[in-house]
């Protein structure tokens, strides 16, 4: 749960908050749990939704920060900057590359990001991802392919930007 959250929101404190909220929500609404899907799927679904909510809030905050920065240069700064995120589970020799990867992941659309992270970070099968996202396996396959293509483009831009 925490591992998924930190990959999505790229911030330790937010990920902990999300883990807490997910745990509490599951504890409080366990009676509402639909046994057609597995408990694990349900937990992941709640986690992903909470993470996406947090990212949306983060984006709103960024927009607001931009507007305020037009008026007050000092106050417009964001408290948490996720552009230099280092996932704590990444091997030491790959940290630099992973940093670029997570930076590129941030720019993906929600569905592509979800499919890619669940497949790459959580190493889930496409069937499991399809259950969590409530879409078909084919849709997941397409989302992952599009996410990889989009990431490739973004990374090429990052590479070019660094060479300049």
């Amino acid at each position: 749960m925490f591992n998924t959250a930190i990959s999505f929101v790229q911030q330790q404190e937010w990920a902990e908050d999300i883990a807490q909220e997910v745990f509490i929500e599951i504890y409080q609404s366990i009676e509402k749990f639909n046994e057609l899907s597995s408990l694990g799927t349900w937990i992941y679904r709640v986690t992903v939704n909470k993470c996406l909510d947090q990212i949306r809030a983060q984006k709103r905050q960024k927009r607001f920060a931009f507007i305020t920065s037009l008026f007050h240069k000092d106050n417009g700064e964001l408290i948490h900057d996720t552009s230099n995120f280092e996932h704590p589970g990444i091997l030491a020799e790959r940290k630099e590359q992973a940093k670029a990867l997570f930076q590129a992941i941030q720019g993906l659309p929600e569905a592509q990001k979800t499919a890619f992270l669940l497949s790459q970070i959580e190493e889930m099968s496409q069937k499991e991802i399809a259950e969590i996202m409530n879409v078909s396996v084919k849709a997941v396959e397409s989302l992952i392919q599009r996410a990889k293509a989009s990431l490739r483009k973004k990374l090429e831009n990052i590479y070019d930007g660094r060479r300049k």
């Binding site: 902990e16 790959r94 590479y159």
Partner: protein
């Protein structure tokens, strides 16, 4: 040619940088934090209706009393104003009469 192959190599390295990664572990106190939050929420949320009902009734009675008090005060003030108005009118007419007599 060399530049583009370097770029492609780097992009591939980045895309495969999550291989062999371990699961991120949360703060060891996260579990305690969750338990505390759950207990705290329960104490806030689980106040039984039996305990809350008399308080709500009392609050309702107090609001009704305050409203009626204000109403009674307003009514009394209305009466007083009417009384003072009529008294004032009487005095004025008396004054008027007196001035007529003086001329």
């Amino acid at each position: 040619m060399n530049k583009s192959s370097d770029k492609e190599k780097w992009v591939n390295e980045v895309l495969s940088s999550t291989e062999g990664m371990k699961k991120a572990e949360a703060n060891p106190f996260l579990y305690e934090k969750i338990i505390y939050k759950l207990q705290h929420r329960e104490t806030v949320q689980d106040i039984p209706a039996k305990v809350l009902l008399p308080k709500w009734i009392l609050a309702g009675v107090v609001i009704l009393l305050l409203n009626s008090l204000v109403l009674v005060k307003e009514m009394n003030r209305g009466k007083n104003i009417r009384n003072t108005d009529t008294q004032g009118m009487g005095m004025l007419s008396e004054l008027g009469n007196q001035t007529t007599y003086n001329y």
